[in-house]
Structure formats: C-alpha cells, structure tokens
C-alpha cells in the first residue's frame, strides 16, 4: 500500500478500533438500511457496535435480532429484494446453519454484504479461526474476499457493496476476517468522512428486479431442466465479469482515497525478484512478512503473496506472479479431508490455476493455524524452508505438511 499522495481531507479521524468495530464503521458509512443480527462469536461484536450506533442516533437502520441464522440471512436477502442495502454476518457453525439462505441469495442475484468472523466448525467447540466456514461459499456464486487488517476490513465494506451492487454483477458479498486475530485485536483505524464514502459508494438501486407494487415481477419460479442451465450460465457470466469490474472499482477507490491498493486481488510482498513465495489469506500476513524479511536478511530470495480475493479467483494475475517462481507454498488455514493429497482448499485452486503453464513452480501445501492456533514467524520460516527445499528437488515425505501440530 503506497502512502504517496495520501489524501488528507477524506479521513474523518484516526481511532483505536478492533476489526469488528472497524466493520461497523464501514456499515455506518455505507448507510445500510436493514441489519439482521444473531449472536455467535467472534463476529458478534460487529452487531454489538452497530446496535450502539443506532441507539445513539449515529446510524439510521432497521435492526432485527432474528430467531436463528437461517432467519437472519433470509431477512437480509428479502430486505435486499425490496431495494434496501442489507447487512448480515456470522461465524463458524452459525454460518453453516443459515447456509441454505446463503445459497439462494446468490442464485436470486441479490447483493447484500455479510461479514464472516472466521471460526472453527464444531464439534468440538472452538472459538478460534479456521477458514472452512467462509470457504464453503466458494462454489455458490458469491463474491468472497479476506481482509488482512482491520483497516482493510472497514474499507472493504464500502468496496464490497460497490462491487456487489454493480448491475453488471449483482452478487452477494462475503467479507471474511480472521476470528480473534482481526475481529478482536485493536489497531489505529482511519475512518473515512461520510462525504468521501458517499462519493465512492452510490445509493443502492436494484433496478428492474425490485419487489415493489409498481414493479410486479415474479422472482424465482420453479424452472427444472427447461431453463436451469441457462440461468446457471448467467450466474457464471456475472462471476466472470466481476474479474474485470473489480479492478475498476479499486481504481475508483484509489481515486477518492489515494493510491491504497496496487493490485485489487492480492498484495505482493518482496515478490519482484523472489524465487520462493508463500501464499496465504488473512492475518497470517503479519508473521509471514516478518519471516520473509528475516530470510531476506540472510540473502534468501523469498516473498509473500497475501491473497485477498478468493471468488472470483484471480487466475490470470496469479499465473503471472506465481508462474515466475520456483516454489510456491500455500498456507491453508482450513482442511479438505479426503481431497487430492489430503491438502487444504486453497492449494487445489492454486495448483489448477498453474497447471496450464508449461513451466510450473513446485507447489507445497501447509495446513496450519487450525482452531485459532497461532502461526508464528518461526512456523512461516519453516514453511519457506520446506518450499525452498522442494523447489530445489528435495521433496518432503508428503506433499502436505501440518505446521504447529503436536506430535
């Protein structure tokens, strides 16, 4: 993130906020119309903060405490269907409880925004971060991005709505952030002015599919084999278009707020001359980048790729960056039991993105940080070393390495 030509008149204040509070500020700046809440750690504090903003008259929004996540997500979906900007969120098994509603929100082509405070799935209960909850959306026609800092989380509420509500896209947006590491750690956060937020994010207009007596439409009738393939194809085309529209939106964001995002889809850290890189999502960026700096001090040509967008998957851009490498180590803070090589979810997509290249890097996979276990700088150094060895032809015993596992 460049700081040159940083705009000064677009920031209201700089305050100490945790990730949840930062997201609530984003929702306030987006002037959301309907919020539906249901408690589950760790995302809950987003809703705590929003209810207080409403109680204090700082935000004018309907606020509904639902009877379950299923109802919560359906309330958000149907509020969106009448043209309201709607906001929801969840974590872990709560996310899975409402999953049916998430699926239809995408197939109805409605653009609410949900925040996911990533949490391990039960059983046994664990509050800590794992990415399986949000990654479950990956085939469902959602926009899915990870924030790696609380500042990014705030900004991506605005960016997320802008992309989701674009009439060329109209897909729901999930903004994921790591439980505890982001949701509950405090940072100095720059909060945009309302004027700047309004300049970037226009008012929501659902257009010709809005549910209103003046626009008598029938939405989602039974289709069966007659038309369902063509409708799936329309969703596919929207997801495909998103790849080109997302950079437009980030350019517009940079125009208003200063050059904050060089590459919308992922950040490259010391990748220019790197031979071996790690790729990860979310808050692991911090120890990973420190590990890279330390290894650079020893002359190792390593780097880190912070993957922000998982859907749409930035295939071409990743091919260009990762295709230059000798070794790519993927950090999977998730599991995909029984998948090829028993790896994680992210590695499958990265491997298949790289497969068409004639000269492919060696790809290793690391399962780590499950259930909120810390991934340390030492862990990241070890992952870089294993990947370096693999790239040099010294393959590890297995293609997938569990990091930080008690033996």
């Amino acid at each position: 993130m460049a700081t040159v030509a940083e705009r000064t008149n677009v920031w209201e204040k700089e305050v100490l906020l945790n990730g949840c509070q930062a997201v609530s500020q984003g929702a306030k700046l987006a002037n959301v119309d309907v919020i539906a809440a249901y408690p589950i750690r760790p995302y809950t504090e987003v809703m705590d903060a929003l209810s207080k903003l409403i109680a204090d008259g700082e935000l004018d929004s309907e606020y509904i405490v639902a009877d379950s996540e299923h109802s919560q997500f359906e309330i958000v979906k149907h509020a969106s269907s009448v043209g309201a900007r709607a906001f929801g969120g969840s974590s872990g098994t709560g996310w899975m409880y409402g999953f049916e509603a998430l699926v239809v929100t995408a197939t109805d082509r409605l653009p609410p925004l949900f925040v996911v405070g990533n949490r391990a799935l039960d059983d046994p209960g664990a509050f800590g971060v794992e990415h399986n909850d949000a990654l479950s959306l990956r085939d469902m026609g959602w926009l899915l991005a990870w924030a790696s800092t609380a500042q990014e989380a705030l900004e991506h509420v605005l960016i997320g709505y802008r992309i989701a509500e674009d009439h060329r896209i109209l897909m729901p947006m999930a903004l994921a952030m790591d439980g505890a590491f982001l949701t509950h750690s405090q940072h100095m956060i720059k909060v945009p002015t309302q004027e700047a937020a309004d300049r970037f994010l226009p008012k929501f207009d659902l257009g010709k599919r809005v549910m209103h007596p003046d626009n008598p439409v029938s939405i989602a009738p039974q289709v069966n084999e007659d038309w369902v393939m063509e409708l799936r194809r329309q969703n596919w085309e929207a997801a495909k278009r998103a790849r080109t529209i997302i950079p437009e939106v980030y350019k517009s964001f940079n125009d208003v707020f200063g050059p904050r995002y060089a590459n919308p889809f992922f950040d490259e850290f010391m990748c220019e001359d790197a031979e071996v890189v790690l790729v990860g999502l979310g808050a692991v960026k911090m120890p990973a980048q420190t590990a890279v700096r330390r290894m650079r001090e020893q002359g190792k040509k390593v780097g880190y790729v912070n993957l922000r967008w998982f859907r749409p998957f930035p295939t071409e851009q990743l091919r260009a960056t990762l295709g230059r490498m000798k070794g790519v180590g993927v950090i999977d803070r998730n599991f995909a039991h029984g998948s090829p090589d028993n790896g994680g979810i992210v590695v499958q997509d990265i491997r298949s993105a790289l497969y068409p290249l004639t000269k492919r890097p060696v790809v290793t996979d690391f399962i780590g940080g499950l259930g909120g276990r810390d991934m340390s700088i030492a862990d990241c150094i070890r992952m870089l070393e294993i990947t370096t060895d693999a790239a040099a032809g010294r393959q590890p015993d297995e293609l997938v390495t569990w990091i930080g596992l008690r033996e």
Partner: protein
C-alpha cells in the same frame, strides 16, 4: 424506529356480488382440480389488492403455481425457502420501512404477505414465524394447510389429522395406523405465545362464504404482525372427488374437528361456534376421504372423543387445551 403508515381503508365484503372483480392471482398456474389452497391464494390476493408484495415458501403452492416463464401473480411475488416464511415477511417489511423513512420510496401502506404450507409453517418455519410475530412490522402470514407435504407426493406433517394415510404413513398388515400424532394446534399456539400479536384467525376459503377474504382484510387493517391458518381439503392428498372440495371443508368445520375463530387483541370470536350450532359426527367428515379408509370404528371413536374433549372440556373450547377451571364461575 416505528413509522406510522397510512392505512388502506378496506370495506367488509357483505355479499358475493360486492367482492372485487379484479383478480391478482389468475391463470398461469397448474394446480389440481378442486384445489382449495389455490382458492386461498386467489382470495387473499383479491382481498388485499394491488398495493401488496407476496412471498411464497416452497410447497405445492410454489411448484404448482409458478413455473418459469408463466406466473399467476399480478402482484409482485417471490419464492422463499421452506422454513423462511416469517423471515421473508420481516425482511421485506423492514426494507420497505427503511426506504420509506429515508425518503427513497413513496411513504404508503404496502401489504406484506407470506404464504407457507403446513410443512413450512407448522413444522420447519415455526421459529421464524414466531420471530415475525414478535416484531412490530405490518405483515400477514397465511398458513395454507392441506395437511401434507403435497408437493412431494403427500407426506405426513405436524398438521396432518391423526390416523391419516400418507406416503410416509401407509397402513400395513402389522400396523393399521402409522400416523399417531395429534394435529398441531398452530394458530392457537402462536396466539398464546405472542400476546402483542393483535390478530390470529383460522379460516376456510369457501365456508362461510367471504369469511376468509374478510379475515384477510381485517388482519391487514389491524396491522402489526398477523397470522391466518386456512383449512384446505386436497383432492389428491385426501383422496376424494374434486367436485366435493368445498363441501368437505364445510363438513370438517361443522364436525368441529377444525375450529373456526378469530383472536383479536386477545378476544376470542368464534366464526362457527360448534357449541351453539351443534356438531355433526366426525365420521361424516372422515368417511368421505380415502386417506381414512383403513380406520375401524375404534379409531373413529378415538378421534370423536378427542374432538368432544376439545369442545366440552377445554377452558377455551376448540382453541386452548388448558383445564385450569377458569371458565367455571367463582
């Protein structure tokens, strides 16, 4: 956050000739002959009129009504998931209220109506409907009850009459009766549990004439979250000739097995008071349906006994199964 909305001034429909000619649920569906649930759709749409938005939960009134590229709905209609009837109404009502308050759409009364079948409303969706009835939004939820999962080939639900044959409860050589649950008393259960809900009613699309249309209008006029449970004989699921659909509904009500009432601000008003008008034997209702053909006298006596208890012993006859002695003076 509540905003007072202008009220639509509905008139009570006194004679059939006074009912609006305009239809808002019209051709374009493929419901069965003699489908009483389709009558429910037609009547509530007619009664509520054009300033209405509707969601329909998954069920036979989704699949049979709305096939892609055809629709019987003149008012805006949207599918919602099987258990999402309550949430869909809350979501739309909340969105409309916010947009009106913020001046983004015209401030007017727009009726928000969800219909859900008995599988959706009495079983899976109870939690969401309960949430909706606790809210302060203007919305109406109509549970159209044909006592089965009619779209998936007639499976038993929590609202199916005791003893009925369904595809999940077939009579056999070892077990004559596979369905031994008593019908869930959903309307009263919701009324009892939501004291700020101002209007709950049961109804039939055709008996007494115009009653359901007027109950729809009453619910929409009273405002807040409201609930109507309709009793819909289903020729396919209940196994009778489509010609007798209306009559079967009438027999169900006159036998007292399906009580007709309104609960307005906690006040019970019987639409058909079986205590005053008398009850026909429940056998006359049961024997006309193939789904009860396997019952023997003993079973019919059991059902008659339960219905007698409901009317003779409950503190709120036909509605609330308590025997606290409150109806006894002193």
């Amino acid at each position: 956050m509540a905003t007072l909305l202008p009220v639509i001034d509905y008139e009570k429909i006194k004679k059939v000739h006074d009912a609006p000619l305009e239809e808002f649920y019209t051709s374009g569906h493929r419901t069965c002959q003699g489908c009483e649930s389709a009558m429910v759709m037609r009547d509530f749409a007619k009664a509520s009129g054009p300033r209405t938005v509707v969601t329909g939960a998954t069920g036979c009134m989704y699949v049979a009504n709305t096939s892609y590229l055809t629709t019987p709905w003149i008012v805006p209609w949207m599918h919602t998931q099987l258990g999402a009837g309550g949430a869909s109404a809350v979501g739309m009502a909340a969105g409309l209220r916010a947009l009106m308050r913020k001046g983004r759409i015209k401030n007017e009364k727009i009726n928000v109506i969800n219909f859900s079948g008995d599988l959706g409303a009495a079983d899976m969706g109870v939690s969401g409907i309960s949430g909706a009835l606790q809210s302060d939004y203007d919305l109406l939820i109509i549970m159209y009850d044909n006592e089965s999962a009619a779209n998936t080939d007639i499976q038993v639900t929590g609202s199916t009459t005791y003893g009925a044959q369904t595809t999940f409860t077939p009579p056999g050589s070892k077990h004559r009766i596979m369905h031994k649950r008593w019908k869930k008393n959903i309307a009263a259960m919701l009324a009892v549990g939501h004291p700020t809900c101002r209007y709950v009613a049961t109804a039939s699309a055709t008996f007494p004439a115009l009653d359901f249309m007027n109950k729809t209008r009453k619910a929409l006029s009273i405002g807040g979250p409201t609930f109507i449970h309709t009793f819909d004989p289903c020729p396919k699921g209940w196994d009778f000739h489509p010609r007798y659909a209306h009559e079967l509904g009438e027999l169900g009500i006159k036998s007292g097995i399906f009580p007709l009432y309104e609960i307005i601000d906690g006040q019970v008003v019987y639409t058909y008071d079986a205590r005053q008008k008398g009850r026909i034997p429940v056998r006359e209702y049961l024997e006309k349906q193939g789904r009860f053909a396997h019952l023997i006298d003993e079973d019919v006596d059991y059902i008659q006994g339960m219905v007698d208890t409901m009317w003779n012993e409950w503190d709120v006859p036909g509605i609330a199964p308590f025997k606290a002695g409150l109806s006894v003076a002193g």
